[in-house]
């Protein structure tokens, strides 16, 4: 199965998971895989209002070997011979509000409204308004692509807030429908809800690490996302899986000492103990991870895509290539997308 299957499920993929599980990296890897398939991929990040520096955007750019600071205007991170490319942009509620006002005939007022703190006022009066503005921008991009507009992305990856916040974030347009009486905001919210609840247009990719707490939270988040935000799930990426080494099941110093001597090597006590302790730690981690992957499969009926743990923690283009290879293999091996 080609990995385009992953991207033909829906144009918008929302990437979310517990903090620290690698959402941003996985968004980048997904985008890179799409580009390899000759697709135009857009990573859509959410900035905090007024932020000058976002660790997430720096991290994404670095993954692609760029020092560029991502902003409202899309940056090109990769463009290949196959016609594929990776673009990225960071949208804040402020910038989305300015654009929204422009589109609704309030161009002259827009800057002043934002700088005077009108966003605070609007956010106060209308629940979830900042989130809605960002999602509205995402929807606008998705509609442009669906209408076949040139230069529009084939795949849009939303690097969404961390798990618990993602539920609130994606739920906000629904909350808004219940609360807002009328006006263009209501129309906007209806359109966003339509997009979010249409599995042909939008799916969620969950990210977890194969450890107990992240797996538990992923299972909970999956249920909440479906029930409260009305989104459809596509797959769960199991990030940071340690490659399984065939180590002796019960390593101990005396046995290891004998084996190394037999091979003509004499190791010191500390070195032997280090080898044994390292092996025990690895075995323990491997065991925990294997058990959690099984539990995840049991508690969450979604295709699992495994990405290996990177021992060199600095994630740059070389690691991006390795992770993209791994994702490609995982998709070919296991992803069946429900129609």
């Amino acid at each position: 199965m080609r990995s385009t299957t992953l991207f033909s499920a829906a144009r918008v993929l929302i990437v979310t998971g517990k903090g620290g599980t690698g959402k941003t990296t996985v968004s980048g890897v997904l985008a890179n895989l799409a580009a390899r398939e000759g697709l135009r991929a857009m990573v859509f990040q959410i900035g905090a209002p007024g932020a000058r520096y976002e660790p997430g955007t720096v991290q994404l750019a670095r993954l692609f070997g760029s020092d560029e600071v991502l902003g409202y205007e899309a940056s090109v991170l990769v463009a290949n011979a196959a016609g594929g490319s990776v673009h990225a942009r960071a949208v804040t509620p402020d910038t989305a509000l300015v654009e929204y006002l422009h589109l609704h005939g309030m161009r002259r007022l827009s800057r002043r409204l934002v700088s005077s703190g009108a966003l605070d006022v609007v956010a106060t009066a209308v629940p979830g308004m900042p989130d809605m503005l960002v999602l509205g921008k995402l929807k606008q991009m998705e509609r442009a692509a669906a209408a076949g507009q040139p230069e529009a992305p084939d795949v849009i990856l939303l690097d969404a807030p961390a798990a618990g916040h993602a539920v609130r974030f994606l739920q906000s347009p629904r909350g808004l429908l219940e609360a807002a009486g009328g006006g263009p905001v209501r129309a906007q919210a209806e359109e966003v809800v339509q997009m979010l609840s249409d599995p042909q247009r939008c799916r969620v990719v969950l990210v977890t690490t194969p450890e107990e707490t992240p797996v538990s939270e992923t299972v909970e988040t999956a249920q909440l996302l479906e029930r409260r935000a009305g989104v459809s799930l596509l797959a769960v990426v199991v990030n940071g899986r340690l490659p399984v080494l065939s180590l002796p099941s019960e390593p101990e110093v005396a046995g290891l000492d004998a084996l190394t001597r037999a091979a003509g090597v004499r190791l010191g006590r500390q070195q032997l103990e280090g080898l044994v302790a390292a092996a025990r730690l690895r075995l323990e981690r491997q065991e925990v991870q294997a058990a959690q992957v099984v539990r995840l499969g049991r508690e969450l009926a979604l295709p699992q895509l495994e990405l290996p743990f990177c021992f060199d923690a600095d994630l740059r283009p070389q690691q991006l290539a390795t992770l993209t290879d791994a994702l490609s293999t995982a998709v070919a091996a296991g992803l069946e997308v429900a129609p």
């Binding site: 941003t24 005077s116 707490t213 090597v265």
Partner: protein, 375 residues
């Protein structure tokens, strides 16, 4: 045992301004604020710091924001929002007291309204207003503000020697520090002042620019929203001063010598990047964490001599060598990252908590973490 803060608290506004840390105050409850990127074990660290104090015989209370369910179960706060819960010590575990609170931002806000309402009817009207519910649930920074409000309330009770507060995973480190000022700023906002003007005559008297803004908001959000908001702010009238005063007191507590900051991070590069960004933001605001807790550190195992590696490469021991090399690579990268935070905060006390065999979700696990936080 009864929760100490459930006792009626006297009105702080009418009391002489001693302020936390001020000369007139005998309340020496100290505070540790745990800050750090998401997913680094902030909540667990906060609870372990409180446990450490309880072990030293102190009365400690941890304020958690969003604990994992099993940890909440272990602390006994699952489903028991907002009031301190006494965590009974297993026999011989700690001589002090351990308390835990799971923050419920909504009820904290409701209590605050009740406290500052000029009459019960005013509080009732506000609590029933849809715009109030939006503010308390959706206004950015409300959760942070309420965490500080809770902290202030607990500190003021004098029932604890130490309060450890977990912070919400903020996109901006300063969201938390600035939270008390946030509402006050909002109340000072020109648009809000406009909305608080109760009469039509008042509206007409306003400058054209302000009227345009009001029209714009009505155009974006619908006229009903503007009407509801005006009604809410009319109801709110007379309470701003109390809110403002309390926010100022909470801010003084955060800035006083009783409060210290702990940076919680992991030695992974991305996480460290966020942590260092946070440190730079805090520094700009005059705050330096005095404690750094680095969670989930891999141990650095001793290297093998190159000739041993060559000799063993073709033996069945090769996977053991490969593992050693991989784990050493992780530890070396982590050490580099650790070096960065040490360079950024050279005076801070650094605690390295090793990668523990299992996730921390019970009191035994917390005790294990607390062991690594011992001086």
């Amino acid at each position: 045992m009864r929760a100490p803060v459930s006792e009626p608290v006297s009105d702080p506004v009418s009391e002489p301004v001693g302020g936390p840390g001020g000369a007139a105050s005998l309340n020496l409850t100290s505070v540790i604020v745990c800050m750090g990127p998401g997913g680094v074990g902030k909540t667990t660290t906060a609870a372990a710091l409180a446990l450490r104090a309880a072990r030293a015989g102190r009365r400690a209370c941890v304020v958690t924001i969003d604990p994992a369910r099993r940890l909440a179960d272990a602390l006994g706060v699952n489903g028991v929002g907002n009031e301190p819960h006494f965590v009974p010590a297993p026999p011989g575990a700690w001589p002090g007291e351990l308390w835990a609170v799971m923050l419920d931002a909504q009820s904290t806000f409701d209590n605050l309204v009740g406290r500052y309402a000029t009459a019960p009817a005013q509080a009732e009207a506000i609590l029933a207003n849809p715009v109030y519910r939006n503010i308390s649930a959706a206004l950015s920074g409300t959760q942070e503000y309420m965490a500080i409000e809770k902290l202030y309330e607990l500190q003021e009770s004098g029932a604890y020697d130490l309060i450890v507060v977990d912070t919400p995973p903020a996109q901006h480190a300063l969201d938390f520090l600035e939270a008390p000022a946030h509402l006050a700023r909002l109340l000072d906002n020109r648009v809000f002042r406009l909305l608080m003007t109760p009469t039509r005559a008042g509206l007409r008297a306003l400058e054209i620019g302000a009227q345009l803004m009001l029209r714009a908001i009505s155009k974006i959000a619908g006229g009903q929203v503007v009407a509801d908001t005006i009604q809410f702010f009319t109801q709110f009238e007379g309470m701003e001063e109390g809110f403002r005063e309390r926010a100022a007191r909470a801010e003084r507590l955060l800035r006083s010598e009783l409060t210290s900051f702990a940076l919680v991070c992991s030695p992974r590069r991305d996480s460290m990047e966020e942590a260092l960004y946070l440190v730079s933001q805090l520094a700009a605001s005059g705050v330096r964490p005095g404690t750094v807790v680095v969670n989930r550190c891999y141990p650095l195992y001793p290297a093998l001599p190159p000739e041993a590696v060559t000799a063993l490469a073709a033996t069945p021991l090769a996977p053991l060598l490969a593992n050693l090399e991989e784990l050493r690579m992780v530890a070396a990268t982590e050490n580099d990252q650790l070096g960065r935070v040490v360079a950024a905060l050279p005076d801070a006390t650094l605690y390295r908590v090793p990668f523990l065999a299992r996730d921390i979700y019970d009191l035994d696990g917390l005790a294990e973490v607390a062991d690594h936080l011992a001086d």
